[in-house]
Point group: C2
């Protein structure tokens, strides 16, 4: 799967302070889950991913037993959670509907471009708005009984056009950088307007 | 806390098929968690609530050890997850910032009106767009180590103005019925525009 991977230099990507990494997921976006095992990369979509703790930051993600990505995560103990954008609507739906088990060229056929982040042997999906590098905290009972995986977030980055100074700026960023929130049957909502409570 | 509770008849509320209950949470809204113990009701806000399974429907919710709502859930084994609306922005932020431990009149002071749902000895928050009655699946290790609670959804209802025939209709319903998605510091996003992937 290395043919579609390239070293990607994107000046819009900046590290996010780990204590604020939960904010990348706090609004409940549908995410892409990527993992690498034995030189093979895979990416799937997951609507069931949620922050779990602030410091150190942790998250949960539900991974069906049928998915190759889960297999890779069980093998490597590492994965990336990333926040796809409205511009990636079709890509997100495709990687969530197709399996690497059926199509060795899944990523290419879904239009996924991967890039590397220094210091992490993990596949990062280009074009997303945020990335969280995760280290599995093995909890065999949760994994077997509920398909529920717990991980610590060990690195976080965001596209500074849409997330900077610890906050999302969906109202001022380009509209196609809004996060996606899946319902069912190919229907997603984009995140909308900002409101401040007193 | 019974003075603010009343039997509420709202013709807009209809049961949601349990197999489609996950759709009420799939887009990652911030929720209100309510519980009753020994005749006392409480309501808190939670950004970290997530679907876990389809059938029977299950969900996860993270409940800090400091909260009275968690105490009530540990005592009763039952709770309600409900989806608040833009119209409930201040209410949602207030029940998430104040504790019943400090103010016995928290619910009244936060503007919470409760109602009853036949067959369920639980407090339901009026004005929300969806409600899920939940039965705790005790997992002591998750609860103690991660503040993570797993429950089965045993009843689901929605405001038919904004959720019907198994789908949200945020684009056509009144704008103040959109769901809220919390970030931090009192800032929320409303859910936005609908998109369909091929």
């Amino acid at each position: 799967m290395h043919h579609q991977r390239k070293t990607h230099v994107d000046n819009n990507i900046a590290a996010v302070e780990l204590a604020k990494a939960y904010r990348l997921l706090n609004h409940g976006p549908t995410v892409l889950v990527s993992a690498r095992s034995q030189g093979i990369d895979n990416v799937m979509a997951a609507a069931w991913c949620c922050a779990l703790d602030f410091a150190p930051p942790k998250l949960t993600v539900v991974l069906d037993k049928m998915t190759k990505t889960r297999e890779f995560i069980e093998q490597s103990g590492m994965f990336v959670i990333q926040v796809p954008t409205v511009a990636q609507l079709q890509l997100t739906h495709r990687v969530g509907s197709q399996s690497l088990a059926d199509d060795a060229n899944k990523l290419l056929n879904c239009g996924v471009e991967l890039f590397e982040m220094a210091g992490h042997d993990l596949p990062f999906v280009a074009g997303c708005s945020a990335w969280l590098a995760c280290k599995l905290i093995p909890e065999p009972n949760n994994q077997l009984q509920y398909d529920l995986f717990i991980a610590e977030v060990i690195g976080a980055w965001a596209d500074t056009q849409v997330f900077n100074h610890g906050h999302w700026h969906f109202d001022t960023a380009p509209a196609d950088k809004r996060s996606l929130h899946y319902i069912a049957g190919g229907q997603f909502y984009a995140i909308g307007e900002s409101f401040n409570a007193d």
